[in-house]
C-alpha cells in the first residue's frame, strides 16, 4: 500500500471551462413565454369565460352532488373491474379449458363493443329479459322482480362501466401474474403451500408492481368515462353541469367548472398511485427514494427533482452480481 492510499484524499482541481451556449433555448423560451402571456391575457379578459359564473357554480350544491355521484360510480365500477379482472385472469390461466375459454369469450365480447353501446344496452335491459325470476331452471319460479326496479340508471351505469372494465383489468392482471418468476411458485409448492394460497400470498403481491401503474391509468380513465353515464340519464358531474347550462345558457363557464373538478380529482388520484407503487415496490432491488413529505420534514426541498444522494435503504456492500 502506498501512502497516498491511506492519507486524506486530496481533491483534484475542478475543471473551469466556458459552458456551451444554447441560443436555441433562449429563442424557444421566449416563444413559449409570449404564448403563455397571450393565454393568460385571454383567460382574464375574454368576457365569454365569465369567471363570476365559474365562481358561483364551482361549489354549488347540484355540482357537488354530481361530483359525489361521479366518485361513487368510479369507485364501484373500478371495484367491479378489479375483482372481475382478477377472477377472469385466474380463469384464463386455469388448466380447466371450460373456464379459460369462458374468460376468453367474455374478454372478446366486452372489448369488442363500445362501452357507450354497453351502457345504453344495460339501460334498455328490460326490453331483453322482461322480468327476473328466482326458481329452478326450466322449472317452477318462486319470486319475480320487475327489471326496471332492479336496474336503475345507477345500476345500469355501474354494470356497463364495471363489466367492461373487468375485461381490460383481466389483461392487466394476467400480464402481472405472468411477470412473476416461476421459481416463486415452485418454492411455495415445495413448502407445501396450495394453489390459492400461493396466488394470494406470493404471486399477486409481486404481480402488483406490474399491475398498479396501468390500474392507476384505468382509474383515471374511468373517472372521465363515467361522464358517458350522462347519456343514459344518470346525473353525475357532467349531467349536473349540463342541467344548469341548459337552463341558463352559460355553457362555457359550466364546462370549465366540470373540467376543473375532473382535473382536481385526477391529480389526487395520481398522488395516491405514487404511494401505492411505493408500497408494492418494497423489497425491490432499487432503493426507494424518500417521499415528498419525508423530504419536506428533512428540510431539503432543494433536491426535490434530483435523485437522493444516498439510497434510503442501506444496501449491503457485499451484494454480488446475481
Amino acid at each position: 500500500m502506498t501512502e497516498t492510499d491511506t492519507a486524506e484524499p486530496v481533491r483534484p482541481e475542478t475543471i473551469k471551462a466556458v459552458p456551451v451556449r444554447h441560443p436555441g433555448r433562449w429563442v424557444s423560451g421566449a416563444i413559449v413565454l409570449v404564448l403563455a402571456a397571450m393565454l393568460v391575457h385571454m383567460l382574464f379578459t375574454n368576457p365569454n369565460l365569465d369567471w363570476g359564473t365559474f365562481g358561483k357554480y364551482f361549489s354549488q350544491k347540484e355540482i357537488l352532488k354530481g361530483l359525489v355521484a361521479t366518485l361513487e360510480l368510479t369507485v364501484i365500477a373500478m371495484a367491479i373491474g378489479i375483482v372481475g379482472g382478477v377472477v377472469l385472469a385466474l380463469m384464463r390461466l386455469s388448466a380447466n379449458p371450460m373456464l379459460s375459454s369462458a374468460a376468453w369469450l367474455y374478454i372478446w365480447f366486452f372489448r369488442g363493443t363500445p362501452v357507450l353501446v354497453q351502457l345504453i344496452f344495460w339501460f334498455n335491459i328490460k326490453a331483453l329479459i322482461g322480468d327476473i325470476s328466482l326458481g329452478i331452471p326450466f322449472g317452477p319460479t318462486f319470486i319475480t322482480w320487475d327489471v326496471n326496479s332492479l336496474v336503475t340508471t345507477f345500476v345500469a351505469a355501474i354494470l356497463g362501466l364495471g363489466l367492461n372494465e373487468a375485461a381490460y383489468m383481466s389483461e392487466i392482471v394476467r400480464a402481472g401474474i405472468l411477470s412473476v418468476d416461476e421459481g416463486q411458485t415452485e418454492a411455495s409448492q415445495a413448502l407445501g403451500m396450495r394453489r390459492l394460497k400461493i396466488m394470494r400470498r406470493v404471486v399477486l403481491p409481486q404481480a402488483m408492481r406490474v399491475i398498479i401503474p396501468p390500474t392507476g391509468n384505468e382509474t383515471i380513465s374511468m373517472l372521465k368515462t363515467t361522464s358517458l353515464a350522462s347519456t343514459v340519464a344518470f346525473t353525475e358531474l357532467l349531467k349536473a353541469g349540463e342541467d344548469i347550462f341548459n337552463a341558463n345558457y352559460k355553457t362555457i363557464p359550466l364546462l370549465i367548472v366540470v373540467s376543473v373538478w375532473y382535473i382536481i380529482i385526477t391529480s389526487i388520484l395520481s398522488v395516491g398511485q405514487y404511494y401505492l407503487e411505493r408500497y408494492y415496490g418494497r423489497g425491490s432491488s432499487r432503493a426507494l427514494p424518500p417521499t415528498p413529505l419525508q423530504r419536506l420534514l428533512r428540510g431539503n426541498l432543494t433536491t426535490f427533482h434530483r435523485r437522493p444522494p444516498t439510497p434510503a435503504v442501506p444496501r449491503n456492500p457485499e451484494v454480488g452480481g446475481l
Partner: protein
C-alpha cells in the same frame, strides 16, 4: 432395519419425447447424506424434483418414508393424489434451489415464518422464536429485517435453507445450492449444510463441490444420461472410479 427415507425403483421420466430418467434405482437411509454428481443434462435436477413431486414420474415407484410420492395405492390400482394431499407430502420435504427463490416482497424473517404460519397454521409467536433461532444458526441474526435484494447471494441461500428447515422436514433436497454464488460466498453455505448433516438430517445434495461430497457425504452417486452409473463411498468412488464414464467426468472436474 428401518425403512429407507427415499426409495426409487426403476424410475423413468419423459419430457415429451425426451427420455430424461431411464430407470433410476436408489435408496437413501435415514440420516444419510447422499451427494449426486454428473454432467449437465444428465437428469440430476429432474430426479430431485421428482422426489417432491414437482415433476411426475412416468413409470417405476418412488417412495419417501414408506409412502408413494403423489399416488395412493388401492389394491393393484394407483390413484393420483389430490392437491391437498400432495401439499401435505411436500411439507415433510425441504428443498433448496440453485437460484434461492426467496420471496422478494418479504423480509428474511418473514420468508422463514411464512410457511409454518400459512401452511401449518402455527402461532406467530412460536414460529417467530423458531425462525429467529434458525436464522441465528445460519449466521444471519443481523439480517432478519433485510429484504432479499439487500442480501448477498450467500446470505440469501442461507435464508432459503432456514426457510426450508422452519417446516421441520425429515428430508432435505439441495439442487446445486452453491452454483450461483461467488467463490468466496460458497463456504458459509457449505458450513450451514455441514452442520445440518452433523445434526443427523437426511439429505440429497446435487452438487459440483467435490470437496464437500468427499468430506460430508455418506454416499456418492454419479449420474449420466439419465441412469445411475456408479454409487458408493465418496472416497472410494473419487479415488478409484470403476467406470470409464465416471473416470472421464472426474478428470474434468477435479
Amino acid at each position: 432395519m428401518s425403512e429407507p427415507m427415499v426409495k426409487a425403483e426403476g424410475v423413468h421420466k419423459y419430457f415429451g419425447r425426451l427420455h430424461v430418467l431411464r430407470g433410476i434405482d436408489l435408496e437413501v437411509e435415514p440420516g444419510e447424506v447422499m451427494c449426486v454428481i454428473g454432467p449437465s443434462g444428465s437428469g440430476k435436477s429432474t430426479f430431485l424434483r421428482c422426489i417432491n413431486h414437482l415433476e411426475k414420474i412416468d413409470s417405476g415407484r418412488l417412495q419417501v418414508d414408506g409412502h408413494l410420492v403423489g399416488y395412493r395405492q388401492r389394491g393393484d390400482k394407483l390413484h393420483e393424489m389430490r392437491e391437498s394431499e400432495v401439499a401435505a407430502q411436500r411439507r415433510e420435504i425441504g428443498m433448496v434451489f440453485q437460484r434461492f427463490n426467496l420471496f422478494p416482497h418479504m423480509t428474511a424473517l418473514d420468508n422463514v415464518m411464512e410457511a409454518p404460519i400459512q401452511v401449518k397454521g402455527e402461532s406467530k409467536a412460536a414460529v417467530r422464536e423458531r425462525a429467529t433461532a434458525l436464522l441465528e444458526q445460519v449466521g444471519l441474526s443481523d439480517k432478519m429485517s433485510g429484504y432479499p435484494s439487500q442480501l448477498s447471494g450467500g446470505q440469501q441461500q442461507r435464508v432459503a435453507i432456514a426457510r426450508a428447515l422452519a417446516m421441520e422436514p425429515k428430508l432435505m433436497l439441495f439442487d446445486e445450492p452453491t452454483s450461483a454464488l461467488d467463490p468466496e460466498l460458497v463456504g458459509d453455505v457449505l458450513d450451514a449444510m455441514r452442520r445440518l448433516a452433523a445434526d443427523g438430517m437426511t439429505m440429497v445434495v446435487v452438487t459440483h463441490e467435490i470437496g464437500f461430497a468427499r468430506e460430508v457425504g455418506d454416499t456418492l452417486v454419479f449420474m449420466d444420461g439419465g441412469v445411475v452409473v456408479e454409487t458408493g463411498n465418496p472416497r472410494d468412488v473419487l479415488a478409484n472410479p470403476r467406470h470409464e464414464r465416471t473416470r472421464s467426468f472426474l478428470s474434468k472436474v477435479l
